[in-house]
């Protein structure tokens, strides 16, 4: 059982709100709790009260905690069935008579969804037609874009890559250093990036495709609706929102009349108004 109870989790939320005016109450409680438990263990802290004290006294530790909370363990080409089907959907239903496509990846955490999209677009010869903007919180942008940091690609990620692109060498996109693969950064300069907090920040521009897979699940149901409305406002007419295949699109997508479903299984929705 995690060392942190639901009550502890609520105490931590309360303490952070009091000190930093940030409300983590919009996060799904069990998800937040298991994240905090992992942090407690990684930091070798014995009790949740000690975690609270440290959070209040050490703002750098607090920032790292927030980064951790927004992070996820999404692997390279997560859900390869989606990627197999996405090529056809993209060319036949989304990019029609369009010369340029603007993608948005909000709440980008560990880089692998971005790398997956970039590799996919390159392999399918869409990259030169695409503009990609990623929205990160705080230090994640540095980790993903820096040439000095990399991420260890999991065995599952390697398997997914090989399955989708059996004729492509990993080395085309990654170089190996120690036990980590680093993404070749030549094309990262084409990626626009911006620090952004999904709950309070505004999204300035409008986009044709918003990639938001397995990010909604981190939030409570009512917050999910708020986020969907915000993302909806950032889509152009006929723009497309893509969620994770087990995510719940919610009442706004289903009932507002603003969206139609392009692909129910792959959770792809088009804004028609």
């Amino acid at each position: 059982m995690p060392e942190i109870s639901i009550v502890d989790t609520k105490n931590i939320i309360r303490a952070i709100k009091l000190k930093y005016k940030v409300d983590l109450g919009s996060f799904q409680l069990n998800t937040l709790r298991y994240k905090l438990d992992r942090i407690l263990s990684d930091q070798h802290l014995q009790y949740p009260d000690i975690l609270i004290t440290r959070l209040i006294e050490d703002s750098e530790f607090y920032s790292e905690l927030i980064d951790n909370i927004y992070s996820s363990d999404i692997e390279l080409f997560r859900d390869p069935e989606f990627w197999s089907e996405f090529s056809g959907i993209l060319s036949e239903q989304i990019i029609i008579n369009t010369e340029q496509v603007n993608f948005l990846l909000p709440v980008c955490s560990n880089g692998f969804e971005l790398y997956s999209l970039m590799i996919f677009l390159e392999e399918k010869a869409f990259f030169d037609k695409s503009h990609i903007t990623v929205l990160y919180n705080s230090s994640t942008a540095d980790k993903i874009h820096s040439s000095n940091t990399g991420f260890k690609i999991s065995h599952l990620g390697l398997e997914n890559f090989s399955k989708l692109f059996p004729d492509t060498e990993m080395e085309k996109y990654f170089f190996n250093k120690g036990n980590q693969y680093f993404f070749r950064k030549e094309k990262m300069s084409l990626i626009k990036k911006s620090k952004h907090e999904i709950l309070t920040g505004k999204i300035k521009n409008k986009y044709q495709i918003i990639f938001f897979r397995d990010r909604l699940i981190n939030f409570e149901a009512s917050t999910q609706e708020q986020i969907i409305k915000k993302l909806s406002a950032s889509l152009v007419k006929n723009g497309v929102l893509i969620l994770g295949y087990r995510e719940n699109p919610g009442k706004f997508i289903r009932n507002s009349g603003i969206f139609e479903t392009i692909d129910e299984t792959n959770r792809i929705f088009r804004k028609i108004v």
């Binding site: 799904q28 998800t31 992992r38 069935e81 397995d214 149901a221 087990r246």
Partner: protein, 186 residues
């Protein structure tokens, strides 16, 4: 409060879970949650295969879905599955636990917190110790714990890990597990 059955299994358990679900009649009153280790990058055909011989409603969980009676809920590939207060599910992509996502422990622990002594935990064949902690939590909260007899398992590591941690309510063969599940009181 209604009972809930939470079944965990890994290597060697698919056949058993199929058998259990094939034995459940369509109007069985309780929800059943199945958390099985499965290939993380394959999402199709799992539920369809389980449904072939079953009259019971079997579906894969969506995030924030409400838990309803007379349904078997399958943890989707490559997500952790939690049970929330308010009797709904949520999914997460937190790192694997015991190299597993979904983690049987996480599902069982959260079920134990919400359903208390109304949980019936079932742990089947498997090759790691996932589920042992979750079953212990169910036991501590007054729920019933049924462990597949290690001698009847394809791979006995999972049940044995559980038996090393605490003494469950029963250690049984599959047929008796099915009988108990079918005869639970409302």
């Amino acid at each position: 409060m209604s009972k809930i059955i939470v079944i965990g299994g890994s290597a060697g358990s698919f056949r058993i879970v199929s058998k259990i679900l094939a034995s459940i009649p369509a109007k069985y009153p309780f929800p059943i949650v199945v958390c099985m280790h499965r290939l993380r990058n394959i999402r199709s055909c799992f539920v369809e295969t389980l449904s072939i011989n079953s009259n019971f409603r079997i579906k894969e969980v969506f995030d924030k879905e409400k838990i309803q009676a007379s349904t078997a809920y399958i943890a989707p590939a490559n997500y952790h599955l939690y049970i929330n207060f308010g009797k709904s599910f949520s999914l997460s992509v937190e790192p694997p636990v015991n190299h597993s996502r979904p983690s049987i422990d996480m599902t069982m622990e959260t079920a134990a917190e919400v359903y208390l002594d109304e949980v019936v935990g079932v742990l089947l064949s498997g090759a790691n110790n996932d589920g042992a902690r979750g079953m212990k939590k169910i036991h501590e909260n007054g729920g019933a714990t049924l462990v597949q007899d290690p001698d009847t398992c394809e791979i006995s590591t999972m049940p044995k890990s559980c038996l090393q941690l605490f003494t469950p309510t029963y250690v049984l063969d599959v047929e008796t597990i099915i009988e108990i599940i079918l005869n639970l009181d409302v």
